[in-house]
């Protein structure tokens, strides 16, 4: 078990195996990166070089675990093997946050490997809150749920997504991972005000922030995670930090991954943006 003197704060990046030589390659190679986020699934049940590299990174940096297959809104029972895998990994890494998405990823044993939208109804709220409770009981700690980008909404929707997340986080006593880009994307696609969304969330439950790039197709935006953060998302991020105060923030890049130094430089923009919002050094 590791113990750490520092608190979880500042600015992070996703841990990508191809950046490993940069991260631990030499003195101060990863200066400017305060912590790393892993995709949990990439390290559950695997060993070998990838796992050894991660353990070395975790000796030097705080780690947060971000999952994509909890499928918290699915109709199937929670996958106990997966939860055990999360728990085992968490025991090794001692992560600051364990997160996944408000979504479902498949039903009846099928995995569609996508973050699919949920109807925002009372039935869904009860269902998801119950399952978050089960997960938190199993892991013995809170999890954080992230707002996924959505491209459809349901006629059955009875509340906004921010109202849903607020109610859910209170009812289930869970944390939130706020993806500012995803708010922007969903706001554009569905025609709501991104500022209303962020102002409508319970600030004290927001544990972490994601920033990422997207692709604007004119009538809709797709959350691609393959490009630098867009200008209007930086504006929204500044407003968010002004409202929330310092929140640990990272840049997600899942495809079209640039050299490590480029991401460190982009992360510096996040630090400066938070600074302009009055919370740079402390964030």
């Amino acid at each position: 078990m590791k113990s750490r003197a520092h608190n979880f704060s500042g600015f992070g990046l996703g841990f990508r195996p191809q950046h490993f030589p940069d991260i631990l390659g030499g003195a101060n190679a990863a200066d400017g990166v305060d912590w790393f986020e892993i995709i949990s699934e990439n390290f559950i049940g695997v060993g070998g070089m990838p796992m050894r590299n991660l353990m070395r990174v975790s000796d030097d940096y705080p780690i947060v675990m971000h999952g994509v297959s909890l499928s918290i809104g699915a109709p199937d029972p929670l996958d106990r093997d997966y939860l055990q895998g999360l728990m085992d990994l968490a025991e090794r890494l001692q992560p600051e946050v364990i997160s996944d998405h408000l979504c479902w990823t498949g039903a009846h044993g099928v995995n569609l490997h996508d973050l699919l939208p949920l109807p925002l109804t009372a039935e869904t709220l009860v269902h998801v809150a119950d399952r978050v409770g089960q997960v938190q009981d199993f892991l013995g700690r809170r999890i954080a749920l992230e707002n996924a980008s959505t491209y459809v909404t349901f006629t059955a929707d009875a509340r906004s997504e921010w109202e849903f997340l607020s109610e859910l986080s209170e009812r289930a006593d869970c944390e939130l991972l706020l993806d500012v880009n995803n708010v922007y994307v969903s706001a554009f696609n569905h025609g709501f005000d991104a500022a209303d969304y962020i102002a409508g969330l319970p600030a004290k439950r927001i544990r972490q922030i994601h920033l990422a790039g997207h692709e604007n197709n004119g009538d809709h935006i797709v959350d691609t995670h393959d490009a630098p953060v867009a200008d209007p998302v930086w504006d929204l991020y500044r407003d968010t930090i002004r409202l929330l105060g310092p929140v640990p923030t990272m840049i997600e890049r899942d495809a079209n991954i640039p050299p490590f130094a480029d991401l460190v430089a982009e992360l510096q923009l996040a630090r400066e943006a938070a600074g302009k919002a009055g919370h740079g050094a402390a964030a």
């Binding site: 695997v46 070998g48 569609l112 490997h113």
Partner: protein
């Protein structure tokens, strides 16, 4: 009365797996951007298949590889938690499905690439070295049981796919199409020289027919 959560999910899933339209009337404005999910589903699966089977991709070319990969994921929706395992049944499917079953080189290449991938990130297990063996007293030898390292995989191949695969992995143009072996052979892939250097592409060696290590 509103359609319940489980039914909406069933309709949504039917859309992605089989192109069903019934979900649309439950979406606001009939879901003009539903196409984003349609596209993302197949694109993601194809991308992962391409990453896991680059030599099969090179062997078949873009169009045929795309056809094979789409037909495979249509026939075998993923049931694994991690997309890492999407291609687990690909070589077995290629051996049975038209027209690939007439081209054993395709299934062999898929089996070989899959085994190499397994060797790379299999769970760790501690190899037995000579000092540990030497420390076992002679009278205990009859009771010893050995297990293979967890990164060892053995695949039965009819075609010598390794030179072609090596060229693709090294981003070289393969010099020649894979040649049939004079007789089918077992190829064992390790993640390591048993201990120190589980290298990025794994190691493999040919084995004798009966599966003992050559």
């Amino acid at each position: 009365m509103n359609t319940g959560l489980a039914e909406l999910q069933r309709l949504f899933q039917d859309r992605l797996l089989a192109g069903g339209n019934d979900i649309e009337r439950h979406l606001k404005d009939r879901g003009p951007f539903l196409k984003v999910y349609d596209h993302a589903y197949l694109a993601r699966l194809l991308e992962v298949m391409g990453e896991d089977f680059p030599a099969v991709h090179t062997l078949l070319g873009d169009d045929q590889f795309g056809d094979a990969a789409v037909a495979f994921v249509r026939a075998h929706p993923s049931r694994a938690r991690s997309i890492r395992w999407l291609g687990a049944g690909f070589s077995a499917w290629l051996r049975e499905a038209d027209p690939w079953r007439n081209l054993p080189v395709v299934a062999d290449m898929a089996a070989f690439e899959w085994a190499l991938g397994l060797a790379f990130d299999a769970p760790d297990s501690e190899p037995v070295g000579m000092p540990a063996l030497a420390a076992v007293p002679a009278e205990a030898w009859p009771g010893l049981r050995f297990e293979f390292h967890r990164s060892l995989n053995i695949v039965r191949l009819a075609v010598d796919v390794a030179p072609f695969q090596r060229a693709v992995a090294a981003e070289r143009d393969p010099e020649a199409a894979p040649e049939p072996l004079s007789e089918p052979g077992d190829c064992g892939g390790f993640g390591a020289t048993w201990k120190a250097c589980r290298c990025a592409i794994g190691r493999y060696r040919w084995m004798r027919r009966r599966g003992s290590i050559a």
